[in-house]
Amino acid sequence: MSQAQITESQVTHLPVAGQVGRLAQSLMAMALGLLIVGVVGFSHIDVIHNAAHDVRHSNAFPCH
């Protein structure tokens, strides 16, 4: 039995378990993305606002 065949047989078992994991991992990445955009674009903290000022205006994020 070659190395490639062993790998192939292992891979065929992956999708079932991998599918659930993919959903959770994708949602986690999306939540992280929203958190980053939220802090850079929407935080009311003055220092963050001032640092990201031109980006907020250039992205048409609401800016005070």
């Binding site: 490639a4 994708s26 850079v40 005070h64």
Partner: protein, 248 residues
């Protein structure tokens, strides 16, 4: 955690490139207009200090702060542009993580790895959801233009984005007539409610400058989203490739 890692790696790669490209594009598009508008804003602030305070909220009005309590801000020139580049890169990484999540869910459902072209379509959806839809009610604003209170605008912005995303999702993925109608209604809803706005707007910022700014924001955002969609997708397809194709 291989999927999460693939999304994060591809987002960081795409976010860095797009953040830098968009920072360069903004130096020609939006930033010169912001700097011009700030001249009007500062002139208005001086008059504002001299005269009795009118009851409008000026963009960046720091009058409510105690004198000397001004928060840190980057110095004009290189420092300010470096922070802009950093914030652009972070914003691009953030949106790329969102796109990467959708691309990963789609490829998990269809079994086909996403192409750069599919990513471009997702990027254009991002452009519709995050730029066009909220900008219909809250057009891109230059500094120095009076606006409604910040929190109410942020809430409306989030509602417009969520409704447009959900509406487009219903139309694209539910291929039925009731879902399509519900999707269109959902997209229209925030605009029927209406974005928060002031009844009376008085500003010295010329309307031609504001108009140029709307165009500049829209064009630079189009560059941002089309590039981010394509690159995130191409990078994700590479980082998420099956283990059997990776050579040891």
């Amino acid at each position: 955690m291989s999927t999460f890692r693939a999304i994060v790696f591809s987002s960081v790669v795409a976010g860095f490139i797009v953040g830098l490209v968009v920072t360069a594009a903004q130096q020609f598009g939006t930033v010169p207009l912001i700097l011009k508008a700030e001249v009007y804003e500062k002139a208005a602030e001086h008059r504002h200090d001299a005269a009795a305070a009118p009851q409008i909220i000026l963009v960046h009005d720091h009058a409510e702060q105690a004198p000397g309590a001004q928060a840190w801000e980057p110095r004009d020139g290189l420092e300010r542009n470096l922070y802009t580049a950093g914030a652009n890169i972070l914003t691009a990484i953030g949106f790329a993580l969102l796109l990467g999540g959708f691309l990963s869910l789609r490829s998990g459902a269809t079994g086909v790895r996403p192409s750069w072209h599919e990513g471009l379509m997702w990027g254009l959806a991002g452009f519709a959801v995050f730029t066009i839809a909220p900008a219909l009610g809250l057009p891109p604003e230059l500094p120095g233009v009076p606006v409604a209170p910040l929190l109410s605008r942020q809430i409306w912005w989030v509602i417009a984005v969520a409704a447009t995303a959900a509406g487009l999702g219903l139309i694209v993925f539910r291929r039925s007539i009731p879902a399509a109608i519900a999707g269109v209604v959902l997209i229209m809803l925030p605009h029927l409610i209406g974005a928060p706005e002031l009844e009376h707007i008085e500003t010295n910022v010329p309307s031609s400058l504001s108009h140029q700014f709307v165009v500049a924001v829209t064009v630079t955002s189009l560059i941002f989203w089309s590039l981010l969609g394509s690159l995130t997708s191409a990078a994700f397809a590479w980082f998420d490739r099956p283990a059997s194709t990776i050579r040891a």
